[in-house]
């Protein structure tokens, strides 16, 4: 039904994706839908996300709104199909140097202010880095979010803020979300559907 509300949008389709000897995996995320993904450590959750973001060589098809990955240039694809890795990396001294614009509309929800742009990266806590990394990737206004444990180093309050923000973002923009979480309660809260990953397949199930 969601597709009818958003003409031209079809979400993310993954068909027989194989990467580094794993797979084939197939899944579909409708626009505005959030799928939680769980799996034992080493089951290849991060590898699956990397392959979808086209960071690793892979076989099989990944389509965004029916258009194959290969039809996009790789940088275009990654701006649309955004991967937020478990650990973020920063290469300039100031926070603001990593953002394209002067302002970031998501700072307030995440507990930051305009002043944050001038903070030194070296003095950020791991929790601040994780939230800023989310704000940074949202600046590309992606249509798909691949989130690798986005609240792993956050306290309950900040984790709730991140959950709220991602919820709002996908409602406002119709973004499709694939959310890796170890926390079954979080998976139940944020996910419309729930997938379990093994090295060979994806199984639909309880959170």
């Amino acid at each position: 039904m969601v597709e009818l509300e958003r003409p031209g949008m079809n979400g993310l389709s993954v068909i027989d994706l194989c990467t580094r000897g794993r797979g084939p995996y197939s899944l579909h995320i409708a626009p505005g839908e959030c799928i939680s993904l769980r799996g034992d450590s080493g089951s290849g959750k991060s590898l699956l996300l990397r392959a979808i973001a086209d960071l690793d060589p892979h076989d099989g098809q990944v389509l965004l709104d029916g258009v194959a990955c290969a039809q996009f240039t790789a940088p275009q694809w990654r701006k649309q199909v955004a991967l937020l890795p478990a650990e973020s990396h920063w290469w300039k001294d100031e926070v603001g140097a990593h953002f394209s614009g002067e302002e970031c509309p998501w700072f307030e929800t995440l507990g930051f202010s305009a002043e944050t742009m001038h903070w030194q990266v070296s003095r950020l806590s791991s929790g601040e880095k994780q939230r800023l990394a989310l704000a940074r990737i949202l600046m590309n206004t992606p249509r798909v979010l691949l989130l690798d444990e986005p609240t792993a180093s956050l306290d309950a309050g900040n984790a709730a803020a991140v959950e709220t923000l991602i919820g709002e973002y996908r409602r406002d923009t119709g973004a499709a979300v694939l959310w890796v979480s170890h926390d079954a309660r979080q998976a139940a809260r944020v996910g419309d559907r729930h997938l379990q990953l093994s090295t060979t397949t994806l199984i639909e199930g309880a959170p």
Partner: protein
């Protein structure tokens, strides 16, 4: 010009032997290396002396091209040997060698046809030493720059991939690393130009003065050589880094460190 006889060289060799004996007494473990290196100097230089003598006696483009090729391949092997992590397969050798070929040969031919203007332009008395100086310096620059590029890319893979995830192109993702590598490749010749005459008398100029050239003539040659070397190194390093940073990625802008060999042991 004062020619050296065998006794003069034997006296100098005596100094090296004394040093080797001292090292042996002090258990520095250097005497073997020192003696072998000394013997290599004698044999290699005598051989090249004979080759040059034969070459000067028969001025022939084919012979000059032949020895140039040998020099190029030796320099290419040296660039490859100085890499901690080098590109796998043919690229490990071809990248540095190709870049040196483009820059050193083009600059040498340009210098021989226009600035030095020998007749014929491939006169080995000028062509071989000129090419040798250009190759030697370009080789050091390219070896330093490529080593810096690949080892930094290896260390900073997480940052490079983070930038790719944010939608950077491969060129954007490696831009700073490439700039650093360029700087380390160019630093030796920039330093040499800045210090020339103040801290050190460049070797070629010293040689010409010892051979009896008027100092100002030697200085003019040295300036020419310095400029040629800095341009040659610059073009060579640029070409090698362009090839190298392209080769670190594939056509889908993925960082492909599997195209590098593991770290060299020892």
């Amino acid at each position: 010009m004062i020619t050296l006889n065998a006794l003069d060289l034997a006296l100098a060799a005596g100094l090296v032997l004394t040093m080797a004996a001292l090292s042996w007494r002090m258990q520095l473990g250097l005497s073997g290396q020192l003696l072998i290196a000394g013997m290599r100097t004698v044999v290699q230089l005598l051989l090249i002396g004979l080759v040059l003598k034969a070459l000067f006696a028969n001025v022939d483009l084919l012979w000059v091209a032949g020895i140039s090729l040998v020099m190029l391949l030796a320099a290419g092997r040296e660039v490859m040997a100085r890499q901690q992590r080098r590109f796998t397969g043919w690229w490990g050798f071809g990248m540095g060698t190709g870049a040196m070929f483009i820059s050193s040969f083009a600059i040498t031919v340009l210098a021989l046809t226009t600035m030095v203007a020998t007749d014929p332009w491939y006169d080995p008395q000028y062509a071989v030493p000129l090419l040798g100086m250009l190759l030697g310096n370009t080789m050091s620059g390219i070896a330093l720059a490529l080593d810096r590029l690949t080892s930094t890319a290896w260390q900073q893979r997480a940052v490079i991939e983070q930038r790719l995830m944010l939608g950077a192109t491969r060129l954007q993702a490696i831009a700073e690393i490439r700039r650093d590598a360029m700087r380390s490749g160019m630093m030796p010749i920039i330093n040499a130009m800045a210090a020339a005459g103040l801290v050190s008398l460049p070797g070629m100029m010293t040689g010409q003065i010892l051979a009896g050239s008027p100092p100002l003539e030697a200085v003019k040659y040295q300036i020419l050589i310095m400029f040629l070397i800095s341009a040659g190194t610059g073009f060579g390093v640029t070409a090698a880094l362009w090839l190298g940073s392209k080769r670190l990625f594939d056509e889908r802008h993925r960082l492909r460190l599997d195209k590098l060999t593991g770290p060299r042991n020892g």
